[in-house]
Symmetry: D3
Subunit: 252 residues, 6 copies
């Protein structure tokens, strides 16, 4: 039994509250156990310099933790005057993952910026950000489609993410902070609704890991993500009909 | 009648939810109409360089808006690599105001950092931050006092803040964003429970203002702040007995 | 009697020397007691990005202290790589105050940048900067008008500023550094020639202040500013005929 | 056949030239095809702040590309004033990988900084940096051990890295720039001499990837790394006896 | 004849006004034609990190131009967030030159920071800064010596600087801005009272220069500096007895 | 005899290896004793903002030392977030020197950026960078001319540089690090093939220097540069026919 009473292959309680921000085109508040992230998707009718004139859109992400999201207060990156390596690594990961299920041609010359602001952190903030961002992005895309601004719905599949790891000698799903800080091996898995891999980042924090351990972790991760995507579908309701349909966004 | 149906001397609905963060020593989520701010008070057992060796503590504040707290997305200051003038001005104001009701000697060699993160902005974010911060600070002080870490309760009076302004030709209390953006005169008032001024910042945005207008605005502000402090007392419950008592923090 | 022998409602000796810089369109060297500030107004025939295409001009200000303007040497902000909060707050204040007496439409698509460089500081550097900047600005506007570049003189009224404060229990006008550092209440007042308020920034540095104290301070401030504006008129000579006249700038 | 005539499971020509810098405690110049990296290991007799007083050492890495290492010139990060996200991500990866085969206790209170400067880039600069860094680190450790500064040789196993990817529909080993830029799936593999994983970073650049593809890529990567480690052993000569021996560093 | 009527070997009018700042240990306002620089020397009773524990002092310089010191307004380096290359080059030069006539041992563990702020620029700002700085430094040293803080007077010789250059085909002394901007060769010369070189920086701006031209320029420079040092002696009055005397600073 | 056995007027062994980078339009690896610098010349078909619309090109240089180019490791300027004064001073010198032998009109609207990366430093890195940069620049210009992109060959003369100095009491040519660190006088000389001066920077590091010493150093420098230019001609082979010819770049 884990310290919070879960089975090795059990997710923490997952809640996704949509439309929490009155200005953003898409927004959710996602809670995975005590990890809480606000995700907003903002649509701008222009593309970054390097994408100009290609008739395609762009999806990017920014990630930040509030200073007291953690046990002790962290100095703000705005006060330090620069983004840390961890932040950059995470926001590059989120953006890359989201783009893997977006048809940038279908999006048209627009930029979607997804902001993931961690209100409280208890392990898995980057994976939770990805799972929440996908829903915020889908809501924003639905808004564009109901405004008849799209000729094709640009989301091609579902996307969710979870962490897995080896703690002691056991492979565990969805590590909380306490488990994460003692993990010998730590892996973040990002997968699609079709059950394929989008990103796989495994690290032997304390020792290298074997092929057998890798296989175990991948099975746990796949099962967790499947459950998360089921929850996303519930929240998205009729938008589900549009995802992967390749249809112009008729109102649902 | 105002666009949202309020009387000139009417506050927007005010909600203060205490203890919203599981790590911070004090925290509240404050909503004034559609303006929503998360305030956390973090205690650290050290003082900044310039306060060392004086046997006194320090209270400081930081302020930030989430990128999509507003109608259109703002670039993060962390991404720009520096704090803007508006942010610096606001966080200096919040810190100065809080220190005016704190006995730094009684606090002891500790630093309290109050973080005000604006989740959604609809006018009055700096005044809302002050009103919320006071409650977060009081909760944190109560925590220290129940841990017998204080010999005297360091909060000497209540503190709240509200904006007032001249819109068209009428003096109004607690401007929302729409009113604020058309205001000819704009004033932020910070007052204590004893009804005295802590800060007064009035600006003739579009035209100078007369002594008569100033007098009208000060009356409106005083009345609004009185109501806000009544709400603070309700939320604080038994902590009210400690504020201004000069007593060592016995448990309440 | 004050430490320098002044009455409570007495200004320090005020000198304004115009045209001290051979390149700037307008310039003055202003001395208020031992506080000495060089103010230059520079005209550029373009507006900042956010003002483009509106047929209006812009007035902005920058403020800086030389490293040894004060008792001990301060590190340069250029060497630190960023402007401090105090500097930003002050330069925002100066620019806002100047814009309150400028008709930006009449200015045309031009930017006036007023630079206030404090050569020596003995209290009141921000208020002295405003009083001096107004004269430098008026000289620069006169230069434009004598070059027939304006169809209407853009300055609508006079503008000056002074500090007031409560030291011990007495309300005093125009605090020097020594008085300022022991002041319990500190207020900066910016007013027009018509005797109206442009900015009012009062702070209870050591304790809150009452309505009675506020009233006393406002009276002291108004009287001081009236005297300062009389001095500005003397320096400006025939330019006085243009200010507030709404006339095209015929040569004076 | 690949554009440079290689088999799918064939590495590019690999050359490691040791001791190319007269000052560094360890150094190599590594060439993998046209990718050329200078790796130096610098020993300092102190540890970073967060490691102080633990009796342990630290190994960290920095990575940089010369401006004209690539087809078109890149602006220097020193001129931009900040490190990019890609650089931070890579140097965090190299440092983490090296630490996985170092016994920090055995290293003692020292910091080893490995600098990887890419002289010319043709794909695989991060994996080449890891493979080269390991040799530079081993040379530096040998130097410490021959100076009798160690009581136990701190390197516990070999470490090398290679990229693999899916180009068209084929899984390929050790992608050059041209292949990398058209890869649908891209994976960096870091492994030990014992054949275990240290890092696994797989990305579906253009499309998600299946479990079957993952398995194929892992086999290719393992084989490539085995050959690289054989080359490392050749270069290291008698130092091979020390690695993983747990022996005090007697002179070899 | 030159555009301002001077002979080729004629300096511009030179004025040095001592003690212009009430806080600085040493200060002068130096005017060379229309080039005007405020030099202050600040004494601090500590040395920079790299000089600690050597029983020696340090002399350093900072240089800055006010934004409207020149024909068109320059952006402040504090606003840009970094010092430009020209500024760094100049302040390194001033500091190096001053140190050449200072006995750092005799100075004791103190730092002298000389600030050169260019109030108005008309060519030769760096050479004027050196000539003025020397006097400010000597006044500060005299202050220390009259306070009996020195056992030996630390200034070993006089120091002044002037620019020379080839304009058209003529070698000229002390170029103003107009001459400087058309100069084909430009040279800054720094010399001691003993007529020896401290710094020589010659640049063929538009074309290389011959040995004959170099010789001509060196003669012009030596003569100009001799006159400047005569003026420094006049200003310094009785302090002249201390310079180069090696005597403990008895009061003069 | 010098510590490395050279005569006072003897250069260290000089090797220039051309075309060491497969992407750059021009490149050399230059070794002067143990000082080793990689110089690449990159051609871009655009000019910086301040040169636009003049029908002329621009040549600029950047300089950097690898962190372990020296006895002890230096922190990267990219990690510090800004360029140091020494780096700026050196890259300004290299760019200015190269431009003195380039006809910017003949270059056309192009920018040549020469990057000098110091792989190993043993004194004279700035002079070695100039000598190497000239050859890289000539190779790049030859490439443009063989592509028929030029109507006139833009290089007007040869350019090389060497350091000279007074060590003990002797004037020495081409100081290595050990000599440089004890030099009383240090001078960098940049000259053309015609034997004229382009830059002369002499500093009395430990004491001022006399006219006699200056004359001695200039003779040593001229002789050294003559030998370096002979070596440049050898490396450049048939390109020699183009330099200073004013001819359109026919293929050689």
């Amino acid at each position: 039994m884990r310290t919070d009473g879960r089975q090795p292959n059990e997710l923490r309680p997952l809640t996704i509250t949509p439309n929490v921000n009155k200005y953003a085109e898409g927004s959710v508040y996602i809670e995975v156990g005590d990890t809480k992230v606000l995700c907003t998707a903002s649509v701008e009718e222009r593309v970054p310099h390097f994408m100009k004139g290609q008739g395609k859109g762009w999806v990017t992400a920014e990630y930040s933790m509030l200073p007291r999201a953690t046990h002790t207060r962290n100095q703000r990156e705005a006060a330090k005057g620069k983004l840390g390596g961890r932040t950059m690594e995470i926001q590059r990961l989120i953006g890359r993952a989201l783009r893997s299920v977006i048809d940038l041609q279908a999006l048209g010359e627009r930029t979607i910026t997804v902001d993931c602001d961690v209100i409280q952190a208890d392990g898995g903030t980057r994976t939770t950000s990805i799972t929440g961002s996908f829903v915020a992005l889908a809501i924003a895309m639905n808004k564009l489609s109901t405004q008849n601004k799209l000729t094709k719905f640009p989301i091609t599949d579902y996307l969710a993410s979870v962490s897995v790891g080896v703690v002691g000698d056991r492979a565990l799903l969805d590590l909380n902070y306490e488990e994460d800080s003692k993990a010998k091996v730590d892996m973040n898995v990002v997968m699609t609704g079709a059950g394929q891999f989008v990103e796989l980042q495994g690290t032997g924090e304390e020792r290298p890991f074997s092929r057998e351990e890798l296989d175990q972790l991948l099975v746990l991760g796949s099962e967790g993500i499947e459950k998360m995507i089921a929850m996303q579908k519930e929240i998205l309701g009729p938008i589900v009909l549009k995802i992967g349909s390749g249809q112009a966004g008729t109102q649902v």
